[in-house]
Subunit: 326 residues, 2 copies
């Protein structure tokens, strides 16, 4: 399998991306095509022993910055994102991974690969940890304003991802809303509810904010504005709670001794919540496998994002969405 890695995308590119690429090539035996400025990538690659690994560089002279407007993708024809997407389009690679500007990744994907027939808007999904395991949440930022029909399509794509990648049949699909009852929700949520109940999905109705971490749905569907606020808020709440607990522990010498003993449990918790374990979220609905990793990705997260891409290719995710939407 050949996977394109946007070597220029992410806050710590290209150093960290190349490091992650080397780890992924070693661990998964995949060919990782590094796309970006050759003169920047060669010295990074030279730091590693590449014996037995296949890590070709494909030169791209331009870079779309993390803070640049999405439209920069159209102007910068020779950006790593455009060059990388073209490799996927030409069949020279089966997937693309980027930790770059997620709006730009989506624009480049739409521009070069296009949409799967029947899907009006691509959606960005992510794995959300829950008390029962995990939930696949989408959209987390690709579409800030949605129509009810988009949410129906997101549900179909989420189902395809769950069934193919997590391997469980018939996941419970929930619609994020501000109340459990059928009549609750914004106009968007109420109309989407009516569309979703007419599908053959295992639609469990509305799920409230707390129901997502408590695991009441396997696939949770919402617009990209709400979904984005949800994932970032969860991050903030976790950070706040850990901060509060540290403060309270520091006030108490005995509690401090206790915390030292309990440290391995805290470490395990940290690992369980660490986004880098999940690697990246799929951009669903574009006609190809595209994985968006966190802008702050470290090498470990990049490696895991490559794994996510590999799983999506192996399990024929794009074909599953194509069938689901038919």
């Amino acid at each position: 399998m050949k996977i394109v890695l946007d070597a220029m995308g992410g806050d710590r590119a290209p150093a960290v991306v190349v490091e992650g690429a080397v780890q992924a090539a070693r661990e998964y035996g995949a060919e990782i095509i590094l796309v970006g400025r050759q003169e920047a990538l060669e010295p990074e690659l030279a730091k590693y022993d590449l014996t037995g690994l296949c890590l070709p560089i494909v030169h791209a002279s331009e870079v779309v910055g993390m803070e640049e407007h999405t439209m920069a993708v159209k102007e910068k024809k020779d950006s790593s994102l455009n060059v990388g997407m073209k490799l996927v389009l030409a069949g020279q690679a089966q997937a693309l991974v980027s930790a770059g500007n997620s709006g730009a990744v989506m624009a480049a994907a739409l521009f070069n690969l296009g949409r799967i027939k029947g899907i009006e808007r691509p959606a960005l999904g992510t794995v959300y940890p829950t008390v029962r395991g995990k939930c696949f949440l989408l959209d987390i930022g690709a579409n800030t304003d949605c129509k009810p029909e988009y949410l129906r399509q997101f549900a179909i794509m989420g189902l395809a991802y769950w069934e193919r990648v997590f391997g469980g049949p018939n996941p419970r699909v929930g619609l994020v809303s501000n109340g459990e009852e059928e009549g609750k929700g914004s106009m968007l949520a109420r109309d989407a509810y009516q569309l979703l109940r007419q599908t053959r999905l295992n639609f469990v109705g509305n799920v409230e904010g707390k129901d997502v971490p408590l695991g009441l749905a396997d696939v949770a569907v919402t617009d990209g504005f709400t979904g984005n606020v949800m994932i970032k808020l969860s991050e903030g709440v976790a950070e706040m709670l850990v901060g509060f607990l540290k403060e309270e522990i520091k006030k108490r010498p005995l509690a401090m001794a206790g915390a030292v003993l309990a440290r391995p449990a805290f470490e395990a918790l940290r690992k369980r919540l660490d986004y880098s374990e999940y690697g990246g979220g799929p951009l669903l609905g574009v006609d190809g496998v595209v994985i968006v990793a966190h802008g702050r990705s470290n090498a470990y997260a990049i490696k895991n994002a490559v794994r996510v891409a590999k799983e999506a290719v192996d399990r024929k995710l794009v074909e599953a969405i194509r069938e689901g939407v038919r």
Copy 2:
């Protein structure tokens, strides 16, 4: 001061509400008017030593249930909510507190007290704990679909609440969005941004989900759909994290010993996050002081909700909003 307590509102009414009323009368020296079915309230009151306390009952024959449609308020003319609001309207009490169905509380307030001139929609606010102290978040559920102008008015009401009740001048007002930059957000958020920057408020721009718990705004404004998802999600995340930590600790005997030593710190954390400390959130924009307590309120939360009502009356909250919106 006279405060009306909807004695029939809440999952554990009337027993818990009456218990909270007795505590509040004792602690704050206020007269608490219990509105509800006389035959249900008298035996509850009889459980306490009421020497020196003023806890009159005003009979109301009907109750709007927690799951009933908002419109039940119109049909049940003699419900505790309608009778209570009328006491406030007539000047026989200065505020009303209810742990009932929040949609019904809002409908009863609008129906009986009306809106403050210049406010198109009332909003429900709440105190959100942050690493720096607290944030006043609104709307958390009164309006699932908003116009940009509503959000501008929410900001003015949030400012009034912050300045009068928390006592700090010139709070930082943030708009919840899916990115920090000016151009980010749904159509609603982008348009509200433009309105907010034209006000004299200390508008700090967009705040992302994580910025709220991290304390980047003193007043955070959003629509009632997003705000409701935010508070319930925060609850769920906290519950999930505590659950995870317990699981990880239980796997490790040494960590279990450590957790015993650290217990007082965990207790302090629990208290810091306990909604019942905050009592209730104000329904801002109606022409009177109305406090909505959590449906699951215990007596302690009811007592604190009475405190919140008392503060709003003492500090002339309604007058402050009236001036702010002028």
